[in-house]
């Protein structure tokens, strides 16, 4: 299966609209304003220098891989890569991707409005909605009082009437206060009313572990929401994912849960001109093969995709070619893509940050067993967070969340290379 690439990174789409350029420039400007500078400084400190170096190498690697996939690229790869990298290669943080997606959707459809705690005057608890209050006014960017149950109910009511609210939770941990409205009102209304009431609402916010925020701010809700019919659940990884999936979510007539990741907000990803176009949209329910491989399939979503890609680099040195699938969509799950991949590689490792029991990995394992049992050459390996509330101390937190080494070990086990289990190491 060919790499799912976007349009080539050459200068063909040079004619970007001024607005997109301005957005990007604004994005750059925003990135260097003081609060961002502090935030980024904080993030950079958290990441080891090794990670930074490997990320740069990875980005270069992505560029050259995408280029190689094109017929023209095969003829003169080096020159092409250099030209592309220097001229049209743009970087965008996930934060800017989300902000620009919100901005464009709000501008395109007057029914779209944003509500949540601190989204207006404070520019967003994580600055995702920066500049939107100024641009669209307090009628379309609503600062809400502190009641998730309250403002979720209000958002659902507005959606019943026909508006398209984007409700922000400061983290999805707080969505538990509103989960009755999300499940019993938003998810089930279309069904219970037999199609008379549709609920075109989006619930978005950071999900899963951040850094040093403790048990009540670190849970991953992908499995909880992923089990509920009536909801669509998305989880982006890169800036392209963030832009494309958020736009798709806002345009979708069904209620969508959009699980972001706080630690990814500041990360930059290369982005093509096609992605920057305001009509860009990714399909809901399609996973992306981030890296092709032959020996083992590794599925992941959100932050774990980055870890899986790094694990793939390490595995490549040992001669194991790993295929990395970025799920993008938790519900509906792209089981055809996963199954096709497993039928090719015959081995599967699922990776997630959330708790293991009843998790996303468990569902993927069963989906593969149902469809492709005969193709499996090894038991399915499941990497998940530790089955404990997230501890705070940095060393304990590190052990409670999957690390790259865990993924490498699991992949080796699936490939019958003897290696100890993480707990005994």
């Amino acid at each position: 299966m060919a790499l799912q690439t976007n349009k080539p990174l050459n200068g063909r789409r040079r004619g970007q609209s001024k607005r997109d350029q301005a957005t990007l420039q604004n994005g750059v400007v925003w990135t260097i304003t003081a609060p961002f500078a502090l935030y980024l400084a904080d993030q950079t400190l958290r990441r080891s220098s090794a990670q930074v170096r490997s990320e740069e190498a990875k980005m270069l690697g992505i560029v050259s891989r995408k280029v190689l996939g094109q017929s023209l690229g095969r003829i003169r790869p080096a020159v092409w890569a250099l030209r592309n990298y220097s001229s049209a290669e743009k970087q965008m943080t996930v934060r800017d991707a989300l902000n620009s997606a919100l901005d464009e959707e709000m501008s395109a459809d007057p029914k779209v409005f944003l509500m949540g705690e601190e989204v207006g005057e404070y520019q967003g608890a994580y600055k995702i909605s920066k500049g939107l209050l100024e641009k669209y006014g307090p009628e379309r960017v609503l600062d809400t009082p502190i009641t998730e149950a309250g403002f979720t109910g209000i958002g659902v009511g507005a959606a019943y009437y026909g508006l398209k609210p984007v409700v922000e939770f400061m983290t999805f941990n707080f969505s538990m206060q509103a989960i009755d409205h999300i499940i019993n009102s938003a998810a089930k209304s279309n069904y219970m009313s037999a199609g008379q009431i549709s609920v075109p609402i989006v619930f978005r916010g950071p999900n899963g572990a951040a850094a040093g925020v403790g048990a009540q701010h670190s849970q991953c809700y992908a499995a909880w929401y992923g089990s509920c019919p009536g909801l669509k659940v998305l989880s982006p990884y890169s800036s392209e994912d963030a832009r494309g999936l958020l736009k798709a979510a806002i345009r979708d007539p069904d209620p969508v849960i959009f699980l972001e990741n706080e630690l990814l907000y500041g990360e930059s990803f290369p982005i093509s001109a096609e992605v920057l176009d305001s009509s860009f949209c990714l399909p809901i329910g399609k996973a992306k093969i981030e890296r092709e491989g032959r020996d083992v399939t590794i599925t992941a979503f959100s932050k774990m995709v980055g870890f899986a890609l790094k694990a793939a680099d390490i595995l490549a040195k040992d001669g194991i070619s790993a295929e990395i699938i970025n799920l993008r969509s938790i519900r509906p799950l792209d089981t055809p893509t996963i199954n096709a991949s497993v039928r090719k590689t015959n081995r599967l490792v699922t990776v997630e940050e959330g708790f293991p029991q009843h998790g996303v990995g468990a569902e993927i394992c069963m989906a593969v067993v149902e469809e492709s049992f005969g193709y499996l050459d090894a038991p399915v390996e499941r990497i998940a967070g530790a089955d404990v509330p997230m501890p705070y101390a940095a060393n304990l937190e590190r052990m409670a969340v999957p690390q790259i080494e865990d993924i490498v070990r699991a992949a080796k086990r699936a490939c019958y290379r003897s290696t100890a289990m993480a707990a005994t190491a």
């Binding site: 009628e139 609503l142 809400t144 009082p145 009641t147 149950a149 309250g150 403002f151 979720t152 109910g153 209000i154 958002g155 659902v156 009511g157 507005a158 959606a159 019943y160 009437y161 026909g162 508006l163 609210p165 009755d180 409205h181 019993n184 009102s185 209304s189 279309n190 069904y191 219970m192 009313s193 037999a194 199609g195 008379q196 009431i197 549709s198 019919p229 009536g230 669509k232 979708d252 007539p253 069904d254 329910g285 509906p332 089981t335 055809p336």
Partner: protein, 481 residues
């Protein structure tokens, strides 16, 4: 010496209070005296007003440090006075007057909030300032209330006979249902709890449509997806009943906000009981509605009971009406069994909500004369005599009948004719609904999403295949197509 000092103190106090009346600002004499100075030694006028001695103490310092100009900080520390010379301070949220008397606001008022009523127990109006209803509207209101009562009685019996699985009556609350609906326009969106079928009835939902939903048959607008009494109809602007208590209250606020943004000449109206007013959703909704200035009418059917919980265990406030003030919401208490009072109050509320963009809270006092639902036997927790009293002597339907009869708009013949017609219609509707087929298999999988996803399409194929192979295991009255 002491005396003269004391006297001078008093003189100074008088002077100070006079200056307070004159008002302070940069231009006043005293402010000039005190505002130019080092902030650290600056004595804000609030303390000096209270403590005139400080004037004498600080005067010297003020003179000495006059040359240090610093005016910005003082503005915030400035205090103001109202017309009577009472001290005010502009805390966040607005100016508040101080008092030296420590007085707690009592937990209950001397007198409970009064209840607005037009018709007395005999159906005679004791006032003339109510919205005059025409004969057509009055007779339609009465006919709808009576229909609701008959429908409830017969459907309740049908449940007891096992023909439907569940039912909820509105006995005793017919006036709230119908009179409020009569005061609204069809464009006003209704967010019901579950004891408001009278609103739908007023708007034109037929007895057959009610029966179809209760039997969950093919003709049900809800495609057989919900329990009985979970009616919903887009064309009647009545949002589908949802079992979860009070979730409709903030939803009504959100929809009202959308109506306001659209500039529509309409409001939303939401109903809930005394029990529903205890929920977090109620609190958030009223609070938000006031802040967002949403055109929504909150109608609380305070019928005294939340299943078996009496209001004395539900809250200790003077009912629900006093809570309006707690949120900054205009509110009124109305006799819920008086159709004309309800009609008048809802008319006024609607006008205020739409033209002034404000929420209104109406507490309609009434009594739940029936059981909570068919799963309840209320004689287990309340005296039967109490139930009988309200059902017989204080029936809202009879009260309205006495009024329209006194106007010669109604008669005994019309009464018996209507009763027998409605009864026949309800029985027919039930018989027809019972015989209609159930919804087809395909409807299990539709409407989960806007477009059915691949996994549901697969499941449907699998189900059809299984039914085809083992038809004896599946009910014959469910069409497989």
């Amino acid at each position: 010496m002491a005396l003269s000092l004391g006297k001078s103190k008093r003189i100074l106090q008088c002077l100070k209070s006079k200056i307070c009346v004159v008002g302070l600002g940069k231009n006043s004499f005293w402010s000039g005296w005190f505002h130019h100075g080092c902030p650290s030694s600056m004595a804000p006028l609030a303390p000096t007003c209270r403590n005139p001695d400080a004037v004498l103490v600080n005067a010297a310092t003020q003179f000495a440090t006059r040359r240090f100009e610093s005016t910005k900080a003082e503005k915030h520390v400035d205090s103001l006075c109202d017309a009577e010379g009472n001290q005010l301070l502009d805390f966040p949220g607005g100016k508040v007057a101080f008092t030296s008397e420590m007085r707690f606001i009592p937990e209950s008022p001397m007198e409970r909030a009064h209840c607005y009523r037009v018709l007395d127990d005999n159906g005679q109006p004791n006032v003339s300032n109510f919205v005059q209803v025409s004969k057509e509207v009055a007779v339609k209101m009465y006919a709808t209330m009576l229909t609701l009562q008959v429908m409830d009685t017969i459907f309740y019996e049908a449940q007891r006979q096992g023909r439907i699985s569940f039912y909820v009556t509105s006995i005793g609350e017919e006036a709230i249902n119908v009179a409020s609906a009569a005061a609204l326009s069809i464009d006003d969106v209704i967010f019901p709890q579950y004891r408001e079928p009278g609103v739908l009835l007023w708007r034109g939902f037929t007895l057959q449509e009610f029966a179809n939903q209760c039997f969950g048959n093919k003709a049900d607008y809800g495609k057989g997806r919900q329990m009985p009494i979970h009616y919903g109809s887009n064309k009647h602007n009545y949002v589908t009943v949802s079992s979860t208590v009070a979730t409709q209250i903030p939803q009504a606020v959100g929809a009202a906000y959308s109506l306001k943004m659209d500039g529509k000449d309409a409001c939303t109206v939401t109903y809930f009981g005394d029990g529903g007013s205890s929920t977090g959703d109620f609190h958030a909704a009223l609070n938000f509605a006031a802040v967002m200035e949403a055109p929504v009418i909150f109608i609380c059917r305070n019928n005294g009971w939340a299943i078996s919980t009496p209001v004395s265990d539900q809250f200790r406030s003077d009912g629900v009406v006093v809570r309006g003030r707690g949120y900054g919401v205009r509110s009124i208490r109305v006799d819920g069994n008086d159709a004309l009072a309800m009609y008048t109050a809802v008319c006024a509320a609607r006008k205020m909500a739409i033209t002034e963009h404000r929420p209104i809270l109406i507490e309609a006092l009434t009594y739940r004369a029936g059981h909570h639902s068919t799963s309840d036997d209320s004689s287990k927790y309340r005296p039967v005599s109490e139930i009988e009293l309200w059902r017989m002597a204080r029936d809202p339907v009879s009260r309205l009948r006495r009024w329209i009869e006194s106007n010669d708009w109604w008669s005994g013949e019309a009464e018996s004719e209507l009763r027998s017609n409605v009864r026949k219609e309800v029985l027919d509707a039930i018989q027809v609904a019972e015989r209609v087929e159930k919804p087809p298999i395909a409807e299990i999988f539709t409407d989960v999403y806007d477009a059915p996803p691949s996994n549901l399409c697969e499941q449907e194929k699998l189900l059809r295949e299984t039914i085809r192979r083992y038809p004896q295991d599946y009910p014959p009255d469910v069409p497989a197509l």
